[in-house]
Subunit: 305 residues, 2 copies
Amino acid sequence: MRQGRPRSVGRLVTLIENASPALPEITAALSRLPGEAYVVGLTGPPGVGKSTTAAALVAVLRAQGQRVGVLAVDPTSPFSGGAVLGDRVRMQQHALDPEVHIRSMATRGHLGGLAVAAAQALRVLAAAGCTTVVVETVGVGQSEVDVAALADVTVVLLAPGMGDGVQAAKAGILEVADVLVVNKADRDGTRAVVRELRNALALTPRPEGVWHPPVLTTVASEGTGVAELVAALDRFRAGAVASGEAGRRRGERARREVEGLALALLQDRLQTTAGHSLDQLAEAVRDGRTDPYAAAAALVAELLA
Amino acid sequence: MRQGRPRSVGRLVTLIENASPALPEITAALSRLPGEAYVVGLTGPPGVGKSTTAAALVAVLRAQGQRVGVLAVDPTSPFSGGAVLGDRVRMQQHALDPEVHIRSMATRGHLGGLAVAAAQALRVLAAAGCTTVVVETVGVGQSEVDVAALADVTVVLLAPGMGDGVQAAKAGILEVADVLVVNKADRDGTRAVVRELRNALALTPRPEGVWHPPVLTTVASEGTGVAELVAALDRFRAGAVASGEAGRRRGERARREVEGLALALLQDRLQTTAGHSLDQLAEAVRDGRTDPYAAAAALVAELLA
């Protein structure tokens, strides 16, 4: 895996995705390995061209000589464990490049959830020598926000002509975006979307010296504007390292990871050690003999006793 | 509120949505009140007509003389706390009916998450005399599955011509659906979707005497097929009560609620009592001095000590 052999990398990520019992051991071993990847989060509503943009980003990064990882995370797929549909097709231009590692991940009941599993997969890709990993997520919901928290920089993608989608997305989107990209910028309405986004950004003024999310335009299918996007990512990175923001984010990421895993361990305790009490309390709540808050407090008291 | 006054009901739900500190007290009081509502979960990909179908369902239930609640849950809106876009418009025909209580809910950092908050809102609507509550969720992701777990019966809505959307949805959808509805059934491709769904259902054979999810067709905008949908819901209910499935689901619901709240209390402990250790362990993980599993185990050991 450390030599970046695709099959070995793929197998390790599969062990992680399938929540292998060896995971604590694997993670411990990974944490002892050097290798650090710059993690670029890519999110936005369906249909804006996330996969095409990821593929275009990979092309630019490869031209720079980087080894690159792509992790497509699909939190909307709780059952199937299936791949992100269509992604593979858009990534095909890179499929045979041994310096590009492409993986989809779906929820599979991993301890601590998909965000924790994705964090482990990022460790694998970094240890395999990827210097940049693009994490692509579907949509902008809570899970996506959790996954975006894994990234060193978050790119939010929009497109003209999305109507309500853009409206709906904007409210939450501006708060996670470090870089905004209006893709499909050869279409009508691009300037209007760019203007809307700039106006919305101006509503939350940022002090001097703090990063102001730029609004870029791309036609990812033709590669137009993608070099400028990479340049913006580099600028963000340099600024974040200099200001200490980069370290703060990595600290926050580690905190979420530890907290997520600790909660998963505690949930396990609730279901095993305190499982009998949980059953009885749930029955009492169902039958109206107690209320859920009182029941939860009793359960926690028992566990901590 | 018990008299079903819309403003009082609305205020209580707002207290719940805003995670009022009085929530444990409110819930305790609610759990002492009589009133039980049949909870109909309505889910499916965007654009299939969930709001229109909810409005059409309300019309039939109102004609039966029922007091009805509608809870539109939007887990994709972590920041804005905004309403589900467009819903209000489709619900307008019922907006002035004092026997119909319509509410949107978004995530607002409620203890235990949106599913727990929605459970409390359901208690309010039941105590206010609603005999049926339609819970409408957006999309089919993990949060929607959590919310679907609140329902006594889950209706999954699809529509012809959704292309990949239907394909993507189907994998997960069949596992939560008690009733499948192909809406917009006046469009081309309806028979193909119905056939696909029946074929897919046939792949997971169910024993005699167990409920077989029917595949219905509706044109909700014209009310076509909606009476048949209500009849199917009634049939399901009668069967589920007779078989004990109804009680089992309510027990499972109570269990999730208690577990969710207990985990939220434990998370609070992690951040307060064990907050200092969490900070230090997160720092050690960030700097590669330990791995996240070991850190989480140490944190849990400290909390349970």
